[in-house]
Symmetry: C2
Subunit: 539 residues, 2 copies
């Protein structure tokens, strides 16, 4: 090879905000806040505030490479810290406040942050965990003077810190492979594991996710991230939106139907995304009030399977397109997203909807997928053959933070722990988590396929299928259901609903009504269910 002669310009996160401030300087960021009125600023203001925040962090002793932790909601302050800390060469560790105390403590000690910035709603949490924090020396409340409270931890006031700095900042030049954001993922077993995103990975992800194959942003979009900024950077929306000049609406912690509707209508939100639970509440609000969702066009839903009824209601009653997304903290998080293609559209609207609503999404440039069978061979793209889902690319994990060995194999493939199929249209469908697969008499049953059918049964709110020990078949599926308030659903109703929709030997051996336990990230906690019903079929 001979070296190319283009400029050796590094991909840096701060260049995203600089670009938005220059090209879309007057575009707004609207943010709710804890105990403060809603605030309205521009990308130009946001860059100015990020400059001040960077200087304030430096004054608190933050140096290049240091970790800076947050326990914070979706606000403009959290947004500007996404730029200020990485812009300094530091790493922003966005801690999930919904985790158990011991997990939060573990993360803070593992990441070794010395500065922790937090929203006022977490004051009690921070005070409670203070004794166990081994490295945090400085606490900053993301507040202004009028609402500030120093608490038992002598927290500093964020807006005072910013006000003490002057305009402008000479952002250092940073290696694009430097760590920028640190997000911990928590399974149901073991300690949380840190994924350390690089500047390069985040910028490439932000570019790719704005394409029409994914979020399809343009300058007329108004984007409201309802997935949490502490959860894989809210799908990278705080980076993809400014690149495309989109107005940003930050809902803080208020994800109830009425609060979202107020922002959607008043701010002209065109695009939002989050876990299904939020949209269940939102649709209930619309139904109750008879209101309509303003200019809302697209709702991207991830985290767990989209109930079909939800997608249909959005489309048929309100003209809003629901797109599934699949990804994980380890993929920054974009893996696939269910946008249409002409090949699929040619099959007719019904088949298109079916695919969009039942598959996790289609292949995206920048992240390779392959399905590998038990024999290690790559499975065909036939939509039938399932196997371990492996991913590869510049925004896919190589190794966990402070891990001792790579989690990507020698060819760069990372095993997601999901079981999936890929079809001829390039659409991927998750059939199970590897650990949730049910093996009945040597045959596999997909817990997710069963759940997807059951959750569409009228009256059902959440459906969970787990495999439990069985004297004859080794393992058999049981179905646990949580119903909508006021719904009257019997076991026979469910059996009648399932019968024509599944093969007979997949019929759950028990159908139970119970409260379904969720993990800290809002997913069904199957480990707890398996323990709770371990003896169900052995009695």
């Amino acid at each position: 090879m001979i070296p190319g002669l283009m400029q050796p310009k590094a991909l840096q996160i701060i260049d995203i905000l600089k670009f938005a401030a220059t090209a879309h300087g007057g575009v707004e960021i609207v943010s709710r806040l804890i105990e403060e009125p809603m605030i309205r600023l521009t990308y130009r203001d946001a860059l100015n505030r990020a400059e001040r925040a960077a200087k304030a962090l430096q004054r608190l002793g933050v140096k290049s490479g240091d970790r800076v932790a947050t326990l914070a909601w979706n606000t403009h302050r959290h947004f500007e810290l996404f730029y200020a800390a990485p812009g300094l060469g530091a790493v922003l560790n966005t801690v999930n406040p919904r985790l158990f105390d011991e997990q939060i403590e573990y993360i803070l000690n593992h990441a070794e942050a010395e500065v922790l910035l937090f929203d006022k709603s977490f004051l009690a949490l921070v005070e409670r965990l203070r004794p166990g924090m081994r490295t945090v020396k400085t606490f900053v409340m993301l507040s202004e003077k009028s609402t500030h409270e120093a608490g038992a931890i002598s927290a500093l006031c964020y807006e005072d810190l910013l006000a003490a700095e002057d305009d402008g900042f000479a952002w250092p030049s940073i290696d694009e492979n430097a760590g920028a954001m640190l997000c911990y993922t928590s399974g149901t077993t073991g300690d949380p594991k840190g994924v350390l995103y690089s500047h390069r990975g985040i910028v490439l992800h932000a570019m790719a996710s704005g394409l029409n194959s994914a979020f399809g942003f343009d300058a007329f979009d108004v984007v409201m991230p309802c997935s949490s900024l502490f959860h894989a950077s809210a799908w990278g929306l705080p980076f993809a939106a400014p690149i495309n000049g989109c107005k940003l609406v930050m809902p803080c912690d208020r994800m109830d139907g009425a609060s979202l509707q107020e922002l959607i209508v008043n701010e002209g939100v065109t695009f939002s995304g989050g876990v299904p639970t939020i949209w269940t509440m939102y649709l209930a609000h619309l139904k109750q009030t008879g209101e309509t969702p303003g200019k809302l066009q697209r709702v991207v839903i991830g985290g767990s399977a989209v109930p079909r009824a939800m997608a249909e209601t959005f489309k048929k009653d309100y003209g809003v397109r629901v797109l599934q997304i699949w990804g994980m903290t380890e993929t920054a998080p974009l893996g696939v997203i269910a946008t249409p293609t002409p090949a699929l559209a040619a099959l007719g609207e019904e088949k298109l909807d079916e695919a969009i609503w039942t598959r996790q999404g289609r292949l995206q440039f920048g992240i390779e997928l392959k399905i590998v069978g038990d024999d290690g061979a790559e499975a065909p793209h036939d939509g039938e053959t399932s196997g371990a889902l492996m991913v590869r690319g510049p925004w896919t994990i190589q190794r966990y933070y402070r891990g001792e060995k790579d989690v990507a194999d020698a060819d760069g493939w990372f095993d997601t722990g999901d079981i999936a199929t890929l079809d001829a249209f390039g659409y991927m469908r998750i059939t199970d988590r590897k650990k949730d697969v049910i093996k009945s008499g040597g045959e596999w049953i997909s817990s997710i396929d069963l759940e997807n059918v059951a959750v569409a049964c009228p009256g059902v709110r959440i459906a969970a299928v787990v495999g439990v020990p069985h004297p004859k078949w080794e393992e058999r599926p049981i179905l646990v259901l949580e119903t909508h308030a006021g719904a009257n659903v019997s076991e026979n109703d469910v059996r009648a609903y399932l019968a024509p929709r599944i093969v007979k030997w997949w019929t759950p051996d028990a159908i139970l009504f119970d409260t379904i336990p969720l993990t800290a990230t809002g997913k069904i906690n199957k480990k707890v269910l398996r323990q709770r019903y371990a003896d169900q079929l052995m009695r």
Copy 2:
């Protein structure tokens, strides 16, 4: 800083075609050819052919780092060579066959290619230039057996070479900063200069140019590049289209109105782009036949200013949106493109159209622009203050091929040689080439602004303004006009048209009707005009 822990996956051109073959494997490439019937293949086929082409090139002795030259039109064969050669680690040198013989000879000798692939229409050219080619040893005609002709240079037959290879190729892993494509730019003075694109630059450019701020591609688009593949890679369309799963239509050398219309209608072209001349012919064809442009939605026009009447006709008569683009070989080529923003749209449709049609375009993520005055200070974004246009970014040139020093300054800024303004909406407008600026009595006159007004005068086909020596004012503008065939335009008509549209002291001192000389890349050759009329105002 601490190193991030994402995968160190290099950005490689071949991954674009691999992606298209996997995610959009059935999407078509339709191509006209010289003396052969139209061909229809898929991205899956194209990858297979690129694999064979890579093996064939290796068999001809091409090694990593070698240059491979082409003299070729917009065909599927040229397209697959865009992947085969860089995929090997070699560099594809796309030579512009419209240059003068001595320039083509200079380029081939300067690039030192040993293999030259050419379309049959260039056989005589290649035979004629053969004696002066110091490094080319192997000639390959991009033909199939039935139309092949070895000529005096014993050309090999491309399709025979491909047929001799078998399926599959183990693409080597390539440093993303390696050279991949070599395009020469030819001004009106001096030898052509080579711009050596890297894999990284091309992939980033392809990702950014698919965004809605630029081409806004989606999988439903059918893209027909009418700018030449040898001219800054046809704006990178051969890379941006496959990333977005777009069907590709290759018009070969047939840019006349009827030929384009056939493809536009039969293939469902939604997006095309090229220099204004092509679209003048196309609109004339539509007018003459009363036909309509099928599914065509967007026409991107670059190379020279878009005549307003053309943009209006496209919009009002056919509902097609015209977007200006500005860039240069040195920027791969995307600089700016004139897509709308809400801030501009808020001013009303008329003002929006005015901006879209008279400005070159708006700021894009990945390429920074600044305007610098004579004093070296950055000019405000006021839409008024003009100065030298400087650009910077990962797909901007650092140094010309075999150049002895960088052409980007220490901070990475490359002086484009254009004089421009930037406005508060983030739109850039070229007011002149630095060397074409007219300095009259110490004040600047924009030759481009004057041309833009004059070209809108009924009957005018091309308008050129140059400054020539003047006894009193040092330099004064003269206007040279080429009219449409059959149009009857007098000097007085033009004076009457200009009077209410320009400030009085900008009025050209002479208005002349003449044939306008063009450069090999289709631009007005002002150097020739300045020489031709050097004495015009001194007599």
